[in-house]
């Protein structure tokens, strides 16, 4: 882990102990204490689900459709392709449609670096974290949530977090079978992937492009983060995105 410097401050310890003791006094007697500890322990290790809305129940098609509907309502654009080889052209097309330079940056995710970028020779690709000069970035979602139309991006060298926020245009690829119903489904995926109680440094839930209503409650896109969010769903069952060749 980077920079494992010890705490730079001392003296908080007393505050901590006094506070915890004070809270404990209002809530517990010695007898109760074991019970309370057990209740907390169980909740933390079992992490039971509470109420999960039913709206996302259904097959992949339903989840893709719900995700698309909600993302679109949140001002993102969504398209489907059926094969990875179609992605570079979809990206180039998105850039062209918005009069953006044919230049894009992504992380070291093999699923992105390994795409057939030679098909779109005029499209310049580079990798790394976001630079201020980048106009468009690209990422691959760890997962998505149909329930609210939400992308789930995890940090790391494959998909550096700054790519999600710094450029004005953001293209995200998500595989259709990674669109889960609920947040809870995704937490289970993360536990499975990273280990119990371990989170990536950053998990971003993203539901549309950046916005603000701070001036007279009027909605404006692109407040600090991306003004445009374009999502490419990789769906081998998709009819919409069948090969154009």
């Amino acid at each position: 882990m980077a920079n494992p410097r010890g705490p730079i401050l001392s003296g908080d310890q007393d505050v901590r102990d006094a506070l915890l003791t004070k809270i404990r006094r209002t809530q517990a007697t010695d007898k109760l204490d074991a019970k309370r500890r057990q209740a907390v322990q169980e909740r933390l290790s079992n992490h039971p689900r509470n109420i999960v809305p039913k709206r996302s129940d259904g097959n992949v098609d339903h989840k893709v459709a719900l995700f698309t509907k909600l993302m679109t309502a949140a001002d993102a654009t969504v398209e489907e392709v059926s094969m990875p080889s179609q992605i570079p052209r979809a990206v180039a097309e998105f850039l062209r449609a918005h009069n953006l330079p044919q230049r894009i940056r992504f992380g070291k995710d093999p699923a992105l670096t390994g795409l057939a970028w030679d098909q779109t020779p005029s499209l310049e690709v580079s990798d790394g974290r976001a630079r201020v000069s980048d106009e468009t970035s690209m990422g691959r979602a760890f997962a998505a949530v149909a329930e609210s139309g939400t992308l789930v991006m995890t940090s790391g060298q494959d998909n550096p977090t700054t790519l999600n926020f710094l450029p004005e245009n953001h293209v995200v690829v998500v595989e259709a079978n990674r669109i889960w119903g609920s947040y809870e489904d995704v937490w289970d995926e993360i536990r499975h992937h990273y280990g119990d109680t371990v989170m990536p440094r950053t998990v971003n839930l993203i539901s549309g492009p950046s916005r603000t209503g701070d001036i007279e409650q009027r909605l404006e896109l692109g407040a600090h983060g991306p003004k445009r969010l374009h999502i490419i769903i990789l769906n081998s069952a998709s009819k919409a995105g069948s090969p154009k060749e």
Binding site: M1, A2, N3, L9, V15, A18, L19, L20, K22, I23, T26, Q27, A28, R36, R37, R43, H47, P48, N50, I51, P53, K54, R55, A74, R129, A130, V132, S148, G149, S155, G156, Q157, P160, T161, T162, N164, F165, Y183, E184, W187, V198, M199, R201, T202, N204, L205, I206, S207, G208, S210, R211, G213, D214, I215, E216, Q217, R218, A223, H224, G225
Partner: protein, 473 residues
């Protein structure tokens, strides 16, 4: 922050006479109320989620010591640092020291009410460090030397023209003849100005909507993405949070997330919900090298176990402000301190004392709209009444009310006399009203008749009529 809550009545009068403010406030009902109603109606589970949300927070408050310990352990495991602050002064000192240890000159800040409460900006400035608010609304109020007037819409008290004037005054390096007609051009200008600030900042400070004990994670929720740039670009990320922000698990956080945006803005979920755990990891290309959490008590532990404990369930969604006719009338600043609206009327006396903020829980008709929409089912009117009880016990209730009440209670306990006097009052007012059927001024009723007529009684009391009727069978 210095409080002017004592002057609530005159603050309110001023606010009501401020036409700019009134114009800005007229956006509140259409902007928030209808959207919340739609979002709530669109999710069949919404009411059950509210029950769940309430239960989660109640469970946390009953086990807060243990969850805080569990949370701390996980933060440290992930390579972060946890600092404990009993008071605002502690939080100021801790944050200033971290900044000084890194030789920080500027810090960027994500929107955080707890930072307002703890006076972090003023403390940083005293230490020669420049804090830069990055949420657009916060940025605007900071450039005006004001404080936010709403939990989630800090500049809701302003109109576009006022903001344009401020931008022209403060961004004096930009061409004078530039066009700033539309909100869009103001948003763009703020975006560009703040860009360089993010990159130059040595430290980023955010609040936290939730702290997850299971994983040692802090969560922020924004629509702009400013919090993410704030916490990802500088070398150090400090998250400042009050102790009751703890939730046990990712599942519990999910339940509250489902409630938060729907209640606040009527969105399904806010645009960005970010979970941060420790500093950057081996191989990461970005993210902070250091991650600090400052846990602030500032009076909250005193509320646990009292009739005000329920207030600690608040997730700062702002729904109670949006739906409150008093807030809609006077705006946030009239309340005189960081928190306004119904939640402020309950919380402020807890944090700065009921002798200072005694007006706030009184300035309510108990119409109950706040409780009706509060996602955490906090019984706000009931708690305002509890404050009134405490004031009454401490003899803080206004003299006029106290003595009026005494007289009334005395009569109420003496029915014969009561009926004689109410009969006289009915006759007296009716006589005064004469043919008009109403009076425009009346001794001892100036508060009423200043603004409205008093319809006349019909002349006889019901009891008198009923008695006659029974006699005549």
């Amino acid at each position: 922050m210095e409080s002017t809550s004592r002057k609530f009545s005159s603050n309110a009068r001023e606010a009501l006479g401020d036409s700019q403010l009134q114009r800005a406030l007229s956006n509140v009902p259409s902007g928030f109320v209808n959207k919340r109603a739609k979002a709530a109606a669109a999710l069949p589970e919404f009411e059950d989620l509210r029950d769940k949300g309430r239960d989660i927070k109640n469970h946390v408050l009953e086990h807060l010591d243990l969850y805080l310990e569990a949370y701390e352990r996980r933060v440290i495991e992930a390579g972060g640092h946890v600092h404990w602050a009993a008071s605002a002064a502690d939080a100021q000192r801790i944050i200033t020291e971290i900044c000084q240890a890194h030789g920080a000159k500027t810090v960027t800040k994500g929107k955080s009410m707890i930072s307002e409460e703890a006076g972090i900006n003023a403390a940083l400035e005293r230490a020669g460090i420049t804090p830069i608010e990055t949420d657009l609304g916060e940025y605007i109020v900071q450039m005006r030397g004001e404080t936010p007037s709403h939990l989630i819409a800090p500049a809701v008290h302003l109109n576009k023209d006022q903001i344009e004037a401020d931008f022209r005054r403060v961004h004096d390096h930009l061409p004078k003849d530039r066009v700033l007609e539309e909100p869009a051009s103001l948003v763009r200008e703020a975006r560009e100005v703040l860009r360089s600030k993010y990159l130059a900042a040595d430290i980023g400070i955010t609040g936290a909507n939730f702290l997850i004990a299971e994983t040692g994670t802090s969560v922020i929720v924004t629509n702009e993405g400013n919090g993410d740039l704030t916490q990802n670009l500088p070398k150090v990320h400090i998250a400042l949070a009050s102790i009751e922000k703890i939730v046990p698990t990712l599942e519990d956080a999910s339940t509250l997330i489902r409630l938060l945006a729907r209640s606040a803005t009527g969105q399904e979920i806010s645009t960005y919900t970010t979970f941060s755990t420790g500093p950057r990891r081996l191989g990461d290309l970005d993210g902070p090298n250091e991650y600090h959490v400052v846990l602030l008590d500032n009076g909250r532990s005193d509320m646990i176990g009292t009739e005000f404990q329920d207030m600690l369930r608040c997730i700062r969604c702002g729904a109670c402000l949006n739906h409150c006719p008093v807030y809609q009338a006077v705006g946030g600043h009239a309340y005189g301190w960081v928190y306004s609206g119904p939640m402020g009327s309950v919380l402020t006396p807890s944090l700065i004392g009921v002798d200072e903020a005694g007006h706030l829980p009184n300035a309510s008709t108990f119409c109950g709209r706040c409780e009706e929409v509060c996602p955490m089912r906090i019984p706000l009117p009931k708690m305002m009444r509890h404050w009134r009880e405490r004031e009454f016990e401490k003899h803080l209730t206004a003299k006029s009310i106290r003595s009026g009440l005494k007289v009334w209670n005395w009569f109420v306990a003496r029915p014969e006399l009561y009926h004689r006097v109410s009969g006289l009052a009915a006759k007296f007012i009716k006589a005064r009203a004469g043919k008009r059927g109403r009076v425009s001024n009346l001794p001892f009723a100036g508060g009423w008749t200043k603004h409205r007529d008093l319809p006349s009684p019909q002349g006889k009391t019901f009891q008198a009529i009923w008695k006659e009727r029974q006699k005549n069978g």
